[in-house]
């Protein structure tokens, strides 16, 4: 699929392999939902093409725009949108391709067999979302579009829904596009990820490498790693636009003089009140923006970097946080050993 939607500043192109699940990540307003709406035929792109297998659904050059109801594209939103005037079985049997028998089958598939006679208002959020999934699957779509289907659910309901999604997505070999803000969804459901920033693709690739070494700001924040952008030199030193240098181990793809990113984990960052002396480490002075407790560790998030990238994060123990007496607005030093930093070519 390829789409340019000028009114929303979106220009993207991607493929999803047969039977694969693609996770679309990105900040709000990056164009994720617009991409799904183009696939579903709800938004006419200014230029672009949508193809499922050898079926052309949208081709602006040839003037093709198949109506939504003929696309065989299932859509599941954060709001389950079960038809309130129909009981659960009739909801799942709604699609012309579905039937009461199909409804019983799909309700069993989503662990909701016993809910058939209920009205939508008698369901919990998690039950309603599983029924909505059954309804979408009963229409036998070629592609399933999932727009944050787990976002409104509590932890237990989301876990149950994730289990069901994983089962039906893995088995039927139907491809899916999933919009999510949850790392767990990506790890458990997706094969590939694609990060959108401001209507453009910031990075794309299989889940594991992207999450291990993200090249985009959003990807880094999502995966929970620190990212510093700059220019690489052949010795594994990265220089930022504002003149700080980062020492690390360069990846094989790094080209001297090209733009690159330095990545390191928050846990590898040490925090000091006073500038540490005579150490070969990378040390930067930062202002604390926020402190956040995450189980036994305290996440110290610094102010935004000079190029607007998310602030660096450090994970320290509660004990050292107490000894340092940190609070937002304090000036401190973040220090990282060179062997904890990897340098990669940026996308």
């Amino acid at each position: 699929m390829r789409a340019v939607v000028e009114s929303r500043g979106v220009d993207i192109e991607f493929d999803v392999g047969a039977g694969k699940v693609l996770a679309l990540l990105g900040p709000n307003g990056a164009g994720k939902s617009t991409a799904l709406h183009v696939i579903a035929g709800l938004v006419h792109p200014d230029r672009g093409e949508v193809r499922i297998g050898n079926r052309v659904l949208t081709d602006t050059a040839a003037g093709v725009h198949v109506a939504t109801h003929d696309r065989r594209v299932g859509l599941l939103l954060q709001d389950p949108l079960l038809f309130p005037h129909l009981d659960v079985t009739r909801n799942v049997a709604f699609a012309p391709r579905s039937s009461r028998a199909a409804a019983a089958h799909w309700l069993a598939e989503v662990d909701a067999a016993e809910l058939g006679d209920r009205r939508p208002r008698q369901l919990s959020g998690g039950q309603a979302q599983r029924v909505a999934l059954a309804r979408a699957l009963a229409a036998e779509p070629d592609v399933l579009l999932l727009d944050e289907p787990l976002a409104g659910l509590d932890v237990a309901a989301a876990t149950a829904m994730r289990k069901v999604l994983r089962r039906v997505l893995a088995r039927d070999g139907r491809c899916a596009v999933l919009i999510t803000h949850d790392l767990l969804d990506v790890l458990t459901l997706a094969d590939h990820v694609l990060v959108l920033e401001e209507g453009r693709i910031a990075e794309a690739g299989p889940v594991a490498p992207v999450l291990a070494a993200p090249r985009s700001r959003f990807g880094a924040r999502f995966a929970g790693v620190n990212l510093v952008g700059g220019t690489a030199d052949p010795d594994g030193v990265l220089t930022t636009q504002w003149g700080t240098t980062w020492h690390g181990s360069p990846g094989p793809d790094v080209v001297a003089g090209e733009s690159a990113v330095a990545l390191f984990k928050p846990a590898a960052v040490a925090v000091y009140r006073d500038k540490p002396h005579g150490s070969p480490r990378n040390t930067v002075e930062v202002t604390i923006a926020e402190l956040d407790s995450r189980g036994p560790v305290i996440r110290v998030r610094a102010d935004e970097q000079s190029d607007g990238a998310p602030g660096l994060a450090a994970d320290i123990t509660a004990q050292s946080a107490a000894e340092l007496q940190l609070s937002p607005g304090d000036h401190v030093y973040f220090s990282v050993k060179a062997q904890e930093v990897t340098i990669h070519l940026s996308s």
Binding site: H69, L75, F83
Partner: protein
Amino acid sequence: MLPRWIFIPAAIGALFVVLPLIAVAAKVNWLHFWSLITSESSTTALLLSLKTAAASTALCLLLGVPMAMVLARSDARLVRMARPLILLPLVLPPVVGGIALLYVFGRLGVIGEYLNAAGIQIAFTTTAVVLAQTFVSLPFLVIALEGAARTAGADYEVVAATLGARPTTVWWRVSLPLLAPGLISGAVLAFARSLGEFGATLTFAGSREGVTRTLPLEIYLQRESDADAAVALSLLLVAVAAIVVVGLGSRRLRGANAW
């Protein structure tokens, strides 16, 4: 928390609405009430009123539901421009509406000329009563339904389309059932407005007993000759309107938790 003084104008307003109704009830000659409202001219007028109001409500539904849905769902510039025009009868004096209808369906009207040539006469017939009532009631139904359709949003229709349902199927199986509560209250409003229609009917349909003389026209006529009959019929109209409005009220309550 409301300031206390606000209850004073509110109470005066309520009295202003209720007092005339009480005054009518007090004026009624209860001794002859039954014979007054069952006189032949009264029952004829009441039956004609109920029949024409029912017909115009049906016509309002037939035309108003599609109008409301187009207004609620379409962003086209033409639709946006047409909206105030369509709702104009809401603020137009009914007499003016009646005159306007005469210039469309009258013997020399834009359409009436051709209808007349084909031997069809509309002005001053029962059909004219129904058209006059529809003209003034339609905006009430459209505005009530449009609000309901906007509140419901298009999300259910989008989901139905992704399930493979064609637009016509979506219309019958999703859009209309979801609109049902708004549909009922809109129809009741249109029926009540039709029942009370006077100005447009008199201008466009005249006052022929049994043909175009509806209950409000009968009341106005009786007021000259037989004040007791006029008061009794007024109370009857109030009673019918009250039944309709109370029916609407309870329907509305049910509508909110209908599903």
